[in-house]
């Protein structure tokens, strides 16, 4: 963050708590890439792999179990853990790049009063991810990174993490 963060902090209306949540692999890489967009705010990372701690520096990182939509019990466990983290952290903003853990983060975060951001992964080139489609009703800022996938009722296209 450094001086840029400090400058933003002074000019921003309020320093917010941002909970950034995703599963592993590409989802996580894209989430990390978005980090500068939250300079000046307080960040908490939530992911599925303890070893990712090395990526977030001094920011707190919480681990939840990963899951897929073919695993009902796993989904329940994951959602319960995400809910627990949200209740403990009480973020102002929840941001996710997918997949299911992020979906739960956005849906439950919204229910708890957070403002929510979904950035559908670049890996979803031809259509939104299943999570990305279903999350639309719960994401205040619902984004695809491919212009062809934008629709009048959302998701919106506003550029990509590639710049």
């Amino acid at each position: 963050m450094g001086t840029h963060g400090a400058a933003r902090q002074a000019s921003s209306p309020r320093r917010q708590k941002v909970l950034a949540i995703s599963s592993g692999g590409g989802h996580w890489v894209e989430l990390l890439r978005l980090r500068p967009a939250f300079d000046g705010h307080f960040m908490v990372f939530v992911t599925v792999d303890e070893t990712y701690r090395a990526h977030v520096g001094s920011a707190p990182l919480r681990v939840v179990p990963d899951t897929t939509r073919w695993d009902r019990l796993g989904m329940l466990r994951c959602a319960a853990q995400v809910l627990r983290v949200l209740l403990e952290e009480r973020p102002d903003v929840v941001v996710s790049t997918g997949a299911l853990p992020g979906f739960f983060g956005v849906v439950l975060g919204r229910a708890l009063g957070a403002r929510t951001i979904w950035v559908d992964s670049l890996a979803n080139v031809d259509e939104l991810s299943m999570s990305g489609q279903k999350v639309g009703r719960f994401a205040d800022l619902w984004l695809t990174q491919w212009p062809e996938l934008a629709r009048p009722g959302g998701p919106r296209f506003a550029g990509s993490v590639l710049g």
Binding site: V18, G26, E30, R33, A37, F38, T51, V125, R151, R156
Partner: protein, 171 residues
């Protein structure tokens, strides 16, 4: 020539790993560090591990002249962020290498970017690696434009600070 091969840290992708092992056998001057996931292949010509810890993975990316991998976002970003050339072979669902064919689409789209070589079949691997090496030789370290923080970052900053939303639809 130093290469980093990555197929992610989970499902094996032995078409690519075996292909790279065979290529490395034919090209002894190349050094290939590899993250091969849950593979049971014996790879005599790769410096292979199932999983590279994030810090070790980042270091291997920094040291490599170019990156080779499955067509995952992690592979592509590792190269794009560092301005290094990258070769990808997409995983295929019909071969049970992944659950769906999203890597084919990713490869198609990212293949349009400079510095990205796509091979669609493992038999094209030697040719693709030839093209990759040509990219390294042509412009070491600058084969790719660096990633920028474009409009998406401003849109998110505005939303967090003020709750403002960008225009809807394909803008």
């Amino acid at each position: 020539m130093k290469l980093l091969l990555t197929v992610g840290a989970q499902m094996p992708f032995d078409r690519l790993v075996a292909g790279m092992d065979a290529w490395a056998a034919q090209n002894p001057s190349a050094r290939v560090t590899a993250q091969i996931g849950d593979s049971t292949l014996h790879t005599a010509h790769l410096d292979a591990q199932r999983f590279l810890e994030p810090a070790r993975f980042d270091q291997a990316c920094d040291e490599a002249d170019a990156i080779v991998g499955h067509a995952g976002i992690g592979t592509l970003f590792a190269a794009l962020e560092r301005g290094k050339p990258v070769l990808v072979l997409p995983r295929r669902a019909d071969l049970r290498e992944t659950r769906n064919d999203h890597q084919l689409a990713t490869a198609r789209r990212f293949g349009e970017r400079p510095g990205v070589v796509v091979v669609w079949e493992e038999r094209e691997l030697p040719d693709g690696l030839e093209r990759l090496q040509a990219l390294v030789r042509a412009a070491p370290g600058v084969a790719q434009p660096a990633l920028r923080e474009g409009r998406l970052f401003d849109v998110i900053r505005d939303f967090v600070d003020t709750g403002a939303l960008p225009p809807s639809g394909a803008s």
